[in-house]
Point group: C3
Chain length 437, copies 3
């Protein structure tokens, strides 16, 4: 249960809100690079934390994001001409480059010099790992990008990224990522306890669907280890995962030390979130986050409107096309035929912004509770001190790995997994045991 004021603090991200201001101090994925396929291509409407931008790729291939309204009299730059190194508003011909500088102001007498006094609001933009990143923060010189392993060049072969928009607040979407106990129900509730081979991670999960938890705060956010017996009293199966400021998670699917996975829950506005779900792992994983599960989201072709990007045809309005017969027969626990669809059904069915006043949190929710507190504490420090929030200027904090591991029962989960979590140690577990979870 969260007080209504704390809930508001955590969920509202528009300009001027505390959470919005703190989030703006971080680089954020804003688009997929292919949304701007070529120099001088059509501009694109982009919503980010409740702000409206027009994104364009200039003649040299550089991406710019300008505030949507022309600084002159407010016409939308969306209708602008993307030409010769800048975007030209068609109302009076004012032309801006990616940095917001006015290159031309042809309806004003030259002697007025007005051109040099006007700038379009623009935000720093870089492209990395197939994404367009934007910085909306207060630092004169933007910090470095977070050094997420996913973006390392050598990962390119096993790398995949799935992007989709969801119709609810960023926080309730993120809370699903750090709540591992739902896996045993929402995603595999239809499987019997012996549905997976002995010794596999999945088998451990099916045999004990009420794991215990350890949680800890870290420099980058918070981590948890959810544990249960690994087939015997001597061994324990640990699922280790992270929350990283401000909106990232690394989920415990796959093999700890091998999987480089990260999810970003980027708010478009308070009620819409763009999910960037990136994976890189040499160990195949076909159950939870395989590519085919994303096909079942049935993404619609992008349209030009503010909420028109990476939308699913399956929404709360059509009950996510639930198949009640499949649910009733037990072929599926949910009647929904993919993991991300199941996650969306739960989080979007909470309403656009969940009022957390009616919650009853149990021992399986310790990580959810921990993360809320971690963010609230950082938020208060940020508001009081004005100092940069955790990780905003510490890119290397983001070199974390998550996943599953079997440890001797009684081992210190953090000490024993240090190298697997920071990528300095190779996993020794047979990858086949982790496949399919």
């Amino acid at each position: 249960m969260l007080s209504s004021s704390d809930n508001e603090l955590l969920t509202k991200v528009g300009p001027g809100t505390p959470m919005g201001s703190m989030m703006r101090e971080y680089w954020m994925p804003a688009m997929v690079s292919t949304e701007l396929p070529a120099p001088d291509c059509d501009p694109v409407r982009v919503l980010l934390l409740g702000e409206r931008f027009i994104a364009f790729r200039d003649s040299s291939g550089k991406v710019g994001m300008l505030a949507a309204q022309c600084p002159h009299r407010g016409a939308s730059l969306f209708f602008g001409r993307n030409e010769e190194g800048g975007l030209r508003c068609v109302y009076h011909g004012w032309k801006f480059d990616v940095s917001g500088r006015c290159l031309d102001m042809p309806n004003e007498p030259i002697e007025s010099n007005f051109k040099d006094k006007v700038r379009a609001r623009s935000v720093p933009v870089v492209e990395r790992g197939g994404l367009v990143w934007a910085y909306l923060g207060s630092q004169e010189e933007p910090p470095p990008l977070p050094a997420l392993e996913f973006f390392d060049e050598e990962l390119s072969e096993t790398r995949s990224i799935n992007v989709f928009q969801i119709n609810c607040n960023w926080l309730q979407a993120l809370e699903g990522d750090i709540d591992t106990s739902h896996f045993g129900f929402l995603h595999v509730g239809h499987l019997g306890n012996d549905a997976a081979p002995e010794g596999t991670f999945l088998r451990h999960m099916l045999e004990d669907r009420a794991p215990r938890y350890k949680v800890v705060d870290t420099e980058f956010g918070s981590s948890y280890g959810a544990y249960r017996p690994a087939g015997s009293d001597e061994e324990t199966y640990w699922r280790i995962a992270h929350y990283l400021f401000p909106f990232y998670t690394m989920i415990p699917t796959g093999l700890l030390g091998s999987s480089k996975t990260v999810t970003a829950r980027v708010p478009l506005d308070d009620e819409h979130t763009m999910v960037y779900l990136a994976t890189a792992d040499e160990v195949p994983s076909d159950l939870a986050i395989g590519a085919e599960t994303y096909e079942n989201l049935r993404l619609l072709p992008n349209t030009t409107d503010w909420h028109g990007r990476f939308r699913s045809a399956r929404t709360l309005d059509n009950d996510f096309e639930i198949d009640r017969e499949a649910q009733r027969s037990g072929r599926s626990f949910t009647g929904l035929d993919s993991v991300p669809l199941e996650d969306r059904a739960m989080t979007e069915s909470m309403g656009p912004v969940l009022d957390r006043g009616g919650e009853h949190l149990g021992s399986s929710d310790v990580m959810v509770i921990r993360v809320r507190r971690r963010i609230l504490r950082a938020l208060r420090t940020f508001v009081d001190s004005g100092e940069l929030p955790p990780g905003a200027n510490e890119p290397d904090l983001y070199r974390q790995r998550s996943g599953g591991v079997v440890l001797p029962t009684g081992a210190d989960w953090l000490a024993a997994t240090q190298g697997l979590r920071d990528g300095t140690e190779e996993p020794t577990t047979d990858p086949a045991l982790a496949a399919g979870v």
Copy 2:
């Protein structure tokens, strides 16, 4: 004319409002039983006084209505599995029975005992007369159902019930029921004064469309008698009808003493109302509320959304498919081809919640005025004293009958009709005279 604050008092019914709180002290029709056709069938979204419920029929056939959001972390129970005596949330597998008790909490360690500490909000439900009734009130032990004659078993052959949703506040819908003078215009304005046989009730109405009124407060609400000559100075035709707390009416159609009719105007929220229109009468009545007139509402198949039940294809958005040519030619007074459609056109065209500040009430509106005052007075008593409002715990008050009767001019309408109104006396009027009104 009603002050804006009184209007708000009467029309707002959400949780915590005075009218909403008072209304909750009564049993309310919430659904038609056939909406839950069999044990373990699909759950249904139900809106009631602005609250969201998921209704389901359990394995034993019992109906439950649970607050829509799971008490755990707020996922909608609509996506739940209806299985083995309870509804199981698919997020973490928590399972609740119709009383809200948590039967299973499989993602929590057994020793946590958390299962016994959590309840889903549920409301008492009973089925009677083909309807599902819900009680949202404050009494530990719900009161008995109102003893409406309509629900007596022996009425089954002549019993019919029509249910449809309208897009406006409950009060303006109800006010149409207690405003008998509109009958002569809205419903039969196209008929000449001699369009009905001499001596019939309809003929009396056509010959004098400006009846006089007597109104009186009663224990159950208020009653009126609208009167006019019955073909001569010696006899007077009376239309006697009732308002019963909190949202019932008994309209004056048919023969007093024979007709058992009742209408409930149940708020889904402030701007949508479910109408339950129940009739039982051995005297055929083909004009005002015959079954075919409901066919003209052209109800759409129910959908699963909050406002998707018993919706008409004819709405204010399509002008209720008015036929202007029929109206112009005089074939119809309104161009609308059924009584309930005419009533809806008037009440919905007032807007979602009528601002009553611009009204001009005449002598034909005495019952409307009386009922508002009756409710406001009860509301003030309820708020001040906390005592149960009129009739909430007095089921037998609801054994009333309404309808038309011819009395000697000058007779005391109340004394003369006591037995006909309370069902202890059989009508002596020839039923043929009342047919068709």
Copy 3:
């Protein structure tokens, strides 16, 4: 840049707002006469300054506009019968004439005399020049109609009027009319400087797209002269245009002294505006406001809803069907294929009501600035003194003309054009030079 409070003052026009009250003191175009094609035809829903009216043409051909809600109990008069000299509400048969007088109240006993105590709210209406004009002001006796030359009988042959609804506030639409420098970009940005024959007005504009401005306040509002060289240093091409209280403009297209053009930007509500664009000119003008450019708005057939009149199929939602390929290739500057479509794209893309806090106004915006100040000053006087605002009772102030003219460089623009502007002098410029602009 405008403060948020001044912006609100200028843009809000609902009942009781300062700007709404001031605007109501003027006659306003409310409909096109052909919307009510014949006596006793179907009534029409009309929105004006946020107020809802039902317009009808009575048996004698007279037009009435009554407040939409029946004064009795608020049913909409839209469903009324238009019959024998009045509109009859079908609820209880109350019948009103065009003046709001109750002609019949058949559900009330005659002796109640209530009929004479009730009036429907009606507003004075006249028809002139193919339009229905309404007066919503405070004067007992409405003032005369503004004596716009457009409505003179003798203009009938060259007269045309185009009406369309736009989805934004009236003021941002009007500001586009008094901002002549956008012409060189938005409308002719694809033309080279030598695209028009030497000596033509268009050639002067293409050769110098950054005109200088003179602005002046007048009794009727404000006027500007935008000037630039007319092919040599000796001659100057002036574009002279006007703002007239409360929502009229006369744009500088065509030949000063010949063109009788006027545009009214009539608010339906704060976010929707009906544009009446009237022209009368013997000099053909095929570029800017020719009839074919209106065809490209693709107006939809009128529907009966409040916003259903004169709507375009091309809206912000479909990006006005911009042709990016045409824009990219330079065949068109905007990719939009007509002048009014280009204007709409700019003004509607500012949002429903532009927040003017982010503007950067240059020397080309002096007329925009001047007009805002002129209105704000009048508004303050009106609020403080209660006196009629400028022109409200001075019809002859509206006999103005606008257009282009070539004057000797250095001439006093106002003195030199007095007769051309007030219609007492014939233009001497070759009309061919003005054609097409």
